[in-house]
């Protein structure tokens, strides 16, 4: 297994390279677009490491593996462990009960406690769920830090077009949708970045809403990432007016000062997903596919990479491992 090539340098490929390098290997890392950037869906992520919140709509594997993610990422980048909050608007309070019933790892907090955690979110009578062990990071900084850690271990990204057929030896195919696996589909997501100093948040906040759920991740320096739509479409192209309206309306409903914020960036991309929304390591001969990270790229890439490395080193097949 000395001759390993990784194709695709998004969050999956970078983590695969890092996991192998920790086991003394120096894999080749190839990406047709070079270093991470707007071409990859990792660029557009929220960066929440929130396994318990994700548990509301995710399989148990995501909750279990996701709990490792914060400590894994902390090896290479700044991870803020400040918990996360889930709130509703006044008329949707039943949504909070439902979310609480479907998740673990939270405490239900009163408006007074909310006022001490996030003063800007406190409104009369508003309760919240506080997931105190959850974390977040800044995706683009995390990718750069991960790349720097690889560079320090002698691994850089070669910019080249390549498919597994073009290279010899063991291949880790981390190309996402470009791998064109038969059961993989794209799920469109759209995001907005706002800048305002009128709102202060120190942790990710999810607004439950029957029609337009929203999360807001503070990036620091008055920058907030608003996400994310989830549409059963593989249509490329920029954010739609409707998605923009929905995300901004929800943010405005959460705090009116967001209406005065500057829209500094919008983005849209496709998440590669399998039918159960759980990522997989799929072995096809000498090729291992690491794919289907869906909306859990940052949450699940470390675990996925670890299982691929375990297989290459020991032949161990973890719960995310599939034979084609």
């Amino acid at each position: 297994m000395s001759d390993v090539t990784i194709i695709g340098a998004g969050v999956a490929g970078l983590w695969a390279a890092y996991a192998l390098s920790k086991r003394g290997l120096t894999p080749r890392l190839i990406d047709r677009n070079g270093n991470p950037g707007a071409h990859g869906c990792s660029w557009w992520a929220g960066g929440m490491l929130a396994p318990f919140c994700e548990g509301a709509t995710s399989e148990a594997a995501v909750i279990a593996h996701g709990q490792q993610a914060a400590s894994d990422w902390a090896e290479v980048t700044k991870v803020t462990q400040n918990g996360s909050l889930v709130v509703t608007l006044a008329r949707d309070r039943a949504e909070l009960d439902r979310f609480a019933r479907r998740t673990t790892g939270h405490a239900r907090i009163s408006g007074d406690t909310l006022a001490t955690l996030e003063p800007d979110l406190a409104t009369p009578g508003r309760e919240a769920l506080y997931f105190d062990t959850e974390s977040h990071l800044t995706p683009r900084a995390a990718l750069a830090d991960l790349l720097a850690a690889l560079t320090a271990r002698g691994i850089t990204i070669e910019q080249a077009e390549a498919t597994p057929d073009d290279v010899h030896g063991t291949v880790l195919d981390c190309r996402g949708l470009a791998a064109k696996l038969p059961s993989l589909r794209g799920v469109r997501g759209e995001m907005v970045m706002l800048k305002t100093h009128e709102v202060r948040l120190s942790r990710p906040v999810r607004l439950l809403h029957p029609r337009h759920p929203l999360y807001i991740v503070p990036r620091g320096d008055g920058v907030f990432m608003l996400g994310a739509t989830q549409i059963e479409s593989a249509a490329p192209g920029p954010i739609t007016a409707r998605a923009l309206l929905e995300l901004l309306s929800a943010a405005y409903a959460l705090h009116p000062a967001f209406a005065e914020a500057e829209v500094i960036e919008t983005g849209a991309d496709l998440r590669p997903a399998f039918v159960d929304h759980v990522p997989r390591v799929i072995r096809q001969g000498r090729v291992l596919h690491l794919n289907g990270l869906f909306r859990h790229g940052y949450l699940m890439a470390p675990a996925l990479a670890r299982q691929a490395a375990d297989y290459l080193e020991h032949g161990t097949k973890g719960d995310l491992f599939h034979e084609d």
Binding site: T57, R102, E232, D276, H277
Partner: protein
Amino acid sequence: MREFYGVTLDSPLMLGTAQYPSPAVMEAAFRASGAAVVTVSLRRETGGGQAFWQIIKGLGVHVLPNTAGCYSAREAITTARMAREVFETNWIKLEVIGHADTLQPDPFGTLEAAETLSSEGFEVFPYMTEDQVLAQRLVDAGCRVLMPWGAPIGSGLGLNNRYGLRTLRAAFPDIPMVVDAGLGLPSHAGDAMEMGFDAVLLNTAVAQADDPALMAQAFGMAARAGQMAHRAGPMAPRDMAVPSTPVIGKAWL
């Protein structure tokens, strides 16, 4: 048994495809429920939903594409034409929304679209209020199925106007009718079926349940139970108690 444009359905349950945690969960819900019809929206996925549509086709049940999210007859007609190409069916659940907050159907836009689509050979399932006059106009326009609402979409309130639904059912004895939208519990589905409706259509109550497959199964069983009860001929409620066993001749002193 009333037929839906010549098709007899194995189950009186129709399920939507939105808001499930994943397609795998959705598939499990369909399997557990035995639903005979799947309804799917095309509006938002325009042009890029092929992978999801393949999953829908793979469910192996009748596909009823819908025009959810359309606010005008024109939009709905365009969406319907696209749906016919994608799913190769003349069936279309016609939904023209008239009010963004309540998601009430627009009766005028619905009628206009129903006329056009029927003339183009579509087999229209119009989503409507329980208004009897509207129902007559839709039948005149060529609709051979009607889909009165139970309550506003996604509200889970059940049958909001039992009187209206009962009179509508009685007024069109030959037209298959589906109670569509607003059902929150299996008992709501059973209720509608006991009243003589031919099917129920729902989405949120299953997709947003903690265990969608289990809830889907419950809805499937309740709808079938209601259907059986209607066929069996329910007793009429009485104000007076009637003992099952005569008391005359018993020692009651």
